[in-house]
């Protein structure tokens, strides 16, 4: 298709789990590459050495600030991309790389890792460790509709992406504490249980219906806060779940 968007995967310091999640869309991923996006950059999947111009850059991993090349690459990614997406929790919030103290072979001096939002402006967050294939799929379809769709599709993509863009504006740190600070202490928690389901390390349990976080287990991925229906709940999108799910499924058929 002529109007395919240019999609890239930029690999900073991450475990490739995010990229595996992209690929875990199986036929959906193939469909995206067939009809909606050319994969113009991906160290793992495409034979391109240097960061090209991209419509959408999916950045996996945080940036090691002692690694000159990474720092240059993330800046170049920003300059050459229309939309920068932090793919997964390391790119969004630092996540597990926050716990690095250096000392690993063969670059023991590489010890400080920052989420990409500390070095460049980021447009969209896809939190998760790893991010779910379904959310990646949804964002990919919406990004295509935003850049190449008709007026209705653009409007839908706009309102769908808005809360994920707001997460990108909100900050570069995450913790179970976000639920304490911005949901529980704010009188918003109603004990639905979502946060516990979304936690990849099962750090959250519910006592008498309210979330308790084992803060030592928390890897700072930001999933619980993003997933909580009382962090954001957009009434112009979520109640349309039936139609929107059909649109996404239709696009990938």
């Amino acid at each position: 298709m002529a109007n395919k968007i240019k999609l890239g995967h930029v690999h900073m310091s991450g475990c490739t789990g995010c990229l595996v999640s992209v690929a875990d869309n199986y036929l959906g991923f193939i469909k995206i590459l067939d009809d909606y996006a050319d994969l113009v950059y991906s160290l793992t999947l495409a034979d391109v050495r240097h960061i090209p111009e991209m419509d959408v850059a999916l950045v996996e991993g945080s940036v090691c600030i002692q690694d000159h090349e990474s720092v240059e690459e993330i800046k170049e990614t920003r300059k050459k991309s229309k939309v920068v997406v932090a793919l997964g929790s390391c790119a969004s919030y630092g996540n597990i790389t926050r716990f690095c103290r250096g000392g690993q072979h063969n670059q023991p001096q590489h010890e400080s890792f920052l989420p990409i939002g500390n070095l460049i402006d980021v447009d969209v967050y896809i939190p998760g460790c790893p991010p779910s294939p379904e959310l990646i799929r949804n964002v990919a379809v919406m990004a295509y509709m935003l850049l190449q769709g008709n007026a209705d599709q653009k409007a839908l993509a706009d309102k769908y992406l808005k809360p994920l863009m707001a997460l990108a504006k909100r900050g570069t740190t995450a913790c179970f504490c976000d639920l304490m600070n911005d949901v529980i202490n704010q009188g918003l928690c109603m004990g639905c249980g979502t946060c516990a389901a979304s936690c990849p390390v099962r750090a959250i349990t519910h006592e008498f219906g309210k979330p308790q976080g084992q803060r030592d287990l928390c890897i700072k991925c930001g999933s619980c806060y993003g997933a909580c229906p009382r962090s954001f709940f957009n009434f112009d999108v979520i109640p349309e779940f039936e139609t929107i799910s059909e649109i996404i499924a239709g696009a990938l058929k």
Binding site: M190, G193, T194, A196, A197, T205, F208
Partner: protein, 291 residues
């Protein structure tokens, strides 16, 4: 398709009751939730359902994944305190290996399910595996200790002697095994409500595939909204097979008028609360999930 600003989108609304006598014995109202889930399980529409079972203390619910009729029946009846149903949403697809998940829960939990479907943040394998979501009407919920205070201090009954609790006709009802019936005016219970419920903008589980509650229908019957294609499929099959008896909602008293009135009361009041939070401090707002 009807789209009501307070009652949400629905294709049909009826008054209904299960025809399964065993389920009805301990159901809260018309046994709609349990009967639907049993039917869906037997038809292979779901592999199991997240329900509010028994917790460690009297009347404390604990979410669990029911995979048999027997399990589903154990969850009958309303527990007026928090059961974090959605904590099992991903677990149901993992530890329990369900491909088709049924979910029961109150309005905010239906909202949580739909958010997890459209914005599956660390919710791998969840969006496409939700097979049937049955929502309850809900004016408010209570923390466990609130419910205990209401029953033990205000109604003067020990929690373990209670057979059923109910909110209806403007009162909180406590029925004990030995036949005591105590009612409390809701103005006594209001202050014990869960604070998070006061920003809740949904009364009749607008986002369920099917939603149900007692309000609007005669005692022992339930008001049922059929909302989505999925909901419509299951419901029409079940009714055709005689699983439920139904009456048009227009033919029962007090009917939709009361449902609408209560929905409006709740949502308007809570909208006001959301507004007031914007000027809670001096030039300081409280968080607003809806912007």
């Amino acid at each position: 398709m009807i789209a009501d600003p307070y009652l949400g989108k629905y294709t049909t609304c009826v008054s209904a009751r299960s025809t399964d006598k065993e389920i009805l014995q301990k159901a809260q109202d018309g046994g709609i939730v349990t009967t639907l889930m049993v039917y869906a399980l037997e038809q292979g529409i779901i592999d199991g359902a997240i329900v509010a079972g028994k917790g460690d203390r009297p009347w404390q619910p604990r979410p669990f994944v029911a995979m048999s009729r027997e399990d589903l029946l154990k969850a009958r009846g309303t527990k007026y305190n928090i059961s974090p149903q959605i904590s099992l949403l991903k677990e149901a697809t993992r530890s329990f290996g369900l491909d088709k998940v049924g979910v029961t829960g109150v309005c905010c939990q239906m909202q949580a399910v739909r958010k997890a479907q459209l914005y599956p943040i660390n919710m791998r394998d969840v969006p496409d595996k939700i097979a049937l979501a049955v929502g309850l009407f809900c004016m408010e919920n209570f923390p466990y200790k609130s419910m205990q205070t209401i029953v033990e201090d205000h109604a003067g009954q020990s929690l373990s002697s209670v057979k059923k609790m109910e909110i209806g006709k403007g009162k909180f009802w406590v029925y004990t095994e030995r036949g005591n019936v105590v009612t409390l005016p809701l103005k006594v219970t209001h202050k014990y409500e869960q604070p998070g419920c006061h920003v809740c903008l949904d009364y009749v589980s607008n986002l369920g595939d099917i939603s149900t509650g007692s309000v609007g229908s005669p005692d022992g019957w339930s008001t049922v909204f059929i909302r989505t294609k999925v909901g419509n499929d299951v419901w029409s099959k079940a009714v055709a097979e005689g699983i439920f008896e139904t009456k048009p909602i227009e033919e029962v008293k007090p009917g939709l008028e009361l449902v609408t009135k209560l929905a409006k009361e709740k949502i308007d009041k809570n909208r006001k609360t959301v507004e007031e939070r914007k000027t809670f401090g001096i030039n300081k707002a409280l968080q607003n999930p809806y912007t």
